[in-house]
Symmetry: C2
Subunit: 337 residues, 2 copies
């Protein structure tokens, strides 16, 4: 009988340990077929050459000549007292696992996801889609061609390759409405960590050409370009105060949407918040007309006074107050409790 | 062949025409069996000798010695922006036919229906139950003994006959929380019209013994007594401002509920609004503990700024804001669109 094999021990501590990987959040289960079927009439049409699974929208369609703006889905979660957060700037979890799945499913079905500056500052959001099967999360295309998964999916790449390729199928383009460049992001902001991990696209930051550039602006330009993101400046309206958006921009939503459609290839846009953006969209007739669909989640809690309230301006017809928004084609679905 | 019968004409105008009958609203269909089953876990237990149909609560149970207050159901309809009305005092239809059926079904299952002064003034409500089959609306007992249907169901009758009889089975007792006697009702107020029609019970008006009595007070006493209603004065708390209810009363809800249970035989109470009452109940821990059930209907509209908002006071735990109300055992049901 031969000697037993010697026990081998390996000292695994390398001389220069690699930094721990950025906390990469786990994938999120996709919505149930019943929820997907329920949502379908409220979603943009899947693109002609869409990602084969029900998830995901690719950017490989030529823009429709008759169309001038993206399909717009407004979506957010509120409490029973119509609040997004306990107080301005406070991250407030209003969604259970099922409504989180819903949000990520919706992201997979839109070319872009837009938020306002306030939300970017308060939440440091990733704005990617973590649904299993979408680019960066065990997508079949990546498994067939593993080099794709590690591509940093910047706009430069897209421009080089034309509209034909989407290195991260199903991942939406984050779009930050930041006219006055108040979002002072860093390399460690979650959106850029995610790009470096190959799990999401770099953001487009919509800004005013005339915005004052605070300290650190050159560094932010560098970070953004390095990850493949862009500052973009829609043409500004005349400086007529009456046309200003509440958030302080001089753009109209129509102008922003047409710009995103024409200049950034965004054919479907999910608008996720926050309070200023939502109230501005819901509170003006000309803005409401730009919204194709609203997906609203209501959590069974009251946050109480002092939160971030969704409540559009009141509306009058012949000096009589009438409901500000009266939704058509309403459907309800129960997600969890 | 005989002559044809002469045409007879009758001049039908009487010398002293009777006044047109008070606009008696039609009966409301009962809720579907599915909705009734959905609601059941949130309702007070049906009384031992209850009205035989699923509808209706009689007052023929002896009060439970261990219990000191009624089963309390808080119920109201809001818009997506958590508003009860477009502006203070404006009646705002937020309910479709199905949620109207729900409200009336709930009324049939409670001994009393409570509202605040503001709602009584703004809405001139009937507060009866118009569901087919309930007392005053083709109830089987009345059909067997038609004299019952025309009894004016005042408290005096109840007292004369003891707790054994309910001349209007399934009809709740309207209860108006009017500490300062601001509700200047008349004989033509809908609640009294309904009593005269034999379609509802006369109200209990909870008031302060010390309330200032405005002009016309003697006449209101007369109207109330004639219809079998009552002013009732719960014992007042010490005049400690910190214990005052927001509505200006010096009662606590605990005191009001115990009073209604012991002195008025109200074993189950539905609280229907309005804003001050709801916010006061939801906004204080000691009041929330008195609520057994909340039935909330949400209409798919935004009313817009300037309405009557349901939003309780914020709540803090160790200087950190937390949700004011976090409901347990939540269930959702879709009524209509």
């Amino acid at each position: 009988m031969s000697d037993p094999l010697p026990k081998i021990t390996i000292d695994a501590a390398p001389a220069d340990p690699a930094p721990p990987p950025a906390a990469s959040k786990p994938a999120i289960p996709t919505v149930s077929p019943a929820t997907a079927a329920f949502l379908e009439p409220y979603l943009p049409p899947p693109h002609a050459n869409a990602y084969a699974k029900p998830l995901g929208v690719t950017q490989d369609r030529a823009p429709d000549a008759a169309q001038t703006r993206p399909f717009v889905t407004l979506t957010y979660a509120t409490s029973l007292d119509s609040q997004l957060a306990l107080s301005p700037g406070a991250q407030t979890a209003l969604s259970g696992p099922l409504s989180k799945s819903l949000t990520h499913y919706l992201r997979s079905r839109h070319d872009g996801v837009l938020i306002g500056t306030g939300t970017a500052i308060a939440d440091d959001p990733g704005l990617n889609c973590r649904t299993e099967g979408v680019g960066g999360y065990n997508n079949q295309e990546e498994l067939d061609d593993p080099t794709k998964a590690t591509t940093i999916a910047g706009l430069d790449d897209d421009e080089d390759e034309g509209l034909e390729s989407d290195p991260l199928p199903g991942q939406p383009r984050p779009i930050i409405l930041d006219p006055n460049r108040r979002w002072h992001f860093t390399r460690e902001s979650r959106m850029f960590q995610i790009v470096r991990e190959g799990k999401g696209k770099a953001p487009i930051i919509l800004t005013r050409a005339s915005s004052r550039q605070g300290s650190g602006e050159a560094e932010r330009w560098r970070i953004l370009c390095e990850h493949g993101g862009l500052f973009m400046c829609p043409r500004e309206e005349m400086k007529d105060k009456s046309k200003r958006m509440k958030s302080g921009s001089r753009w109209s939503w129509k102008q922003i949407l047409e710009f995103l459609y024409k200049e950034a290839g965004i054919q479907s846009l999910m608008i996720e918040g926050g309070g200023n953006v939502i109230n501005d969209l819901l509170g003006r007739k000309e803005n409401l007309e730009l919204i194709d669909s609203v997906v609203l989640t209501i959590a069974p809690v009251y946050l109480g006074k002092g939160g971030v309230n969704v409540c559009p301006d009141g509306k009058q017809v012949e000096a009589i107050k009438v409901p500000a928004v009266n939704f058509k084609h309403v459907n309800w679905n129960v997600l969890g409790r």
